[in-house]
Amino acid sequence: MSEEKLLQEVTGSEYKYGFYTDIESDKAPPGLNEDIIRFISAKKNEPEWMTEWRLDAFRKWEKMNEPNWANINYPKPDFQAISYYAAPKKKKTLDSLDEVDPELLKTFEKLGISLDEQKRLSGVAMDVVVDSVSVKTTFTKKLAELGIIFCSISDAIQEHPELVRKYLGTVVPKSDNFYAALNSAVFTDGSFCYIPKGVRCPMELSTYFRINEAGTGQFERTLLIADEASYVSYLEGCTAPMRDENQLHAAVVELIALDDAEIKYSTVQNWYPGDVNGKGGVFNFVTKRGICERNAKISWTQVETGSAVTWKYPSCILKGENSVGEFYSVAVTNNYQQADTGTKMIHLGKNTKSTIISKGICAGKSNGSYRGLVKIGPRAEHARNFSQCDSLLMGSSCGSHTFPYIETKNKTAKVEHEATTSKIGEDQIFYCNQRGIGEEEAIALIVNGYCKDVLNQLPMEFAVEAQKLLAISLEGSVG
């Protein structure tokens, strides 16, 4: 099979999760000003300190400009044309699946991740976010027995204000960057998680996000605190309905790993990437960062297949001595998708260690960039980093770039960087074909092999889902 044909077939697949759930919603008028922020805060019944926190963020945001250093091109969103609040009207407390909106259940069935199925899965607790408001939280009771709090951030503001006030904005300050400031001002929902001292969370905590209402931006806020010597594995995955206009998404995720704690944070991201001509698709501007105290460990694992534009750098501040940061990433771009993604490993403490494994896959006319910073502070004696950034190109119309930055202020540090670029060869495809494996399967097999080091980091059920997503993102309509 010729390169040309392979390319066409690969780029020929349409987004398979394009559907739209009709749930009545309660929307704020478009635009952003202090009144809208007060409206959101009032809608969510928030305490005064929270309203003030938002207003402060809004005032900071007003003075900031959109970043333009990333290797991406997109029409700048009109922030006054966006509606900053949308909530399902029929919100009420649900005790069983019977009470969940049947439309929503259908949506999950289409995704093959119906709540029903999820509940049966080996102890996966879910906090489902549809259009910014939590609809369903499961397994809360079981978690509560261990003192684990897993709820929406809105509920946390109401029920655990002391924890939220103590930690919110401590890892990603309100003024950190343009999108983080915007998120701080207008976030409507997201997840909150607290693992008490010495508790090992017995199940994977899982949140499925879903952007659903035309024209609404989505501003998720996640705050996860692992207290001393605790452990948690957190999963986040999302898909979005097919949509013509661009949807803005600017989430903030903050992780706090106190002494001896460990957090595994896994993401499978499959938002609508736009059609084959580059029309539509989600703009994804995410700030994800974690801080590690002494002997703590944070692992970010991400499989990114969606969005028209991705701007995302899950990072670790290795503050405490002997702390460990890891970043495992697969970023797929196809058609006209653009991704500028990577990580920052900030080594502050002694004997801190970080590992970066980044696997980029570019097809179609897409553009993928790895951008990473490894920074070794003056007190980070014997800090170590290993980075490996690989790119896999499909066809000859895509672009892959690597921007590794290294700043070292301590002579005892050891920083290693490796990079490779390869192509899926016709020879590999033919070899698979000859063994009875068709083109789509062959590409899926080769790509999954290439991403193995990252996929291995995901929990089992999630790895299977991620493999399917990779195949869906890259397969063509062979026939």
Partner: protein
Amino acid sequence: MLKINNLHAGIDGTEILKGINLEVKAGEVHAIMGPNGSGKSTLSAIIAGREEYEVSQGRMDFEGEDIMDLAPEERAHKGIFLSFQYPIEIPGVTVTNFLKTAINETRKAQGMDPMPANEMLKKMRDKMSLLEMDKGFLSRSLNDGFSGGEKKRNEIFQMAMLEPKLAILDETDSGLDIDALRVVANGVNKLRNKDNAVILITHYQRLLDYIVPDVVHVLHKGKIVKSGDKNLALKLEEKGYDWLKEEASTL
């Protein structure tokens, strides 16, 4: 089983095969020999369905059906197997996973359910002992970092697992030391039966000491210039190809 009539084919406008006629019947072993550049590997690639080659003339039937328009994987599903001269590396894909996919895709095409895991494992174990292979092999990345000999052995292992009707072994002997050659040849012999056939493509007589062919063909400049029994191979070993080249040019 395989019937090729007046096959003309080439690549990028250059004709490499200039009228091949070949018939292989079930239960037979054919050896195709010939000097470098005579078109041996082109012939095997075309039988397997490699699309870079253009077929300008001729006909190719497999079990009575014209397969010229079939995709390589469809030919594989019908039972055509090619052991590659240079097996391809697929990093990160284990031998097990690759074989599982290959077997189950083939079964799917034949309307069968996937092979149960325990059955597959047992089969893998049986075939590995047949080829005197180490168990650790299964969890290694396909051909990635394999020695030349390991790659060839892995090809024959795949053949044993897939149980094709027609196996084309393209220079399977190259890169094998004498012990490995014996093991591989022994494996091939054990897999032979009255319903399958083998085409051996080789430069040397050496392999034919172990896998004895029913027919030997000599390919030269894109044509089969001589066919005979196993003694033809011995004669080639002794005299080289030059006498045949002369004979061919006088035709």
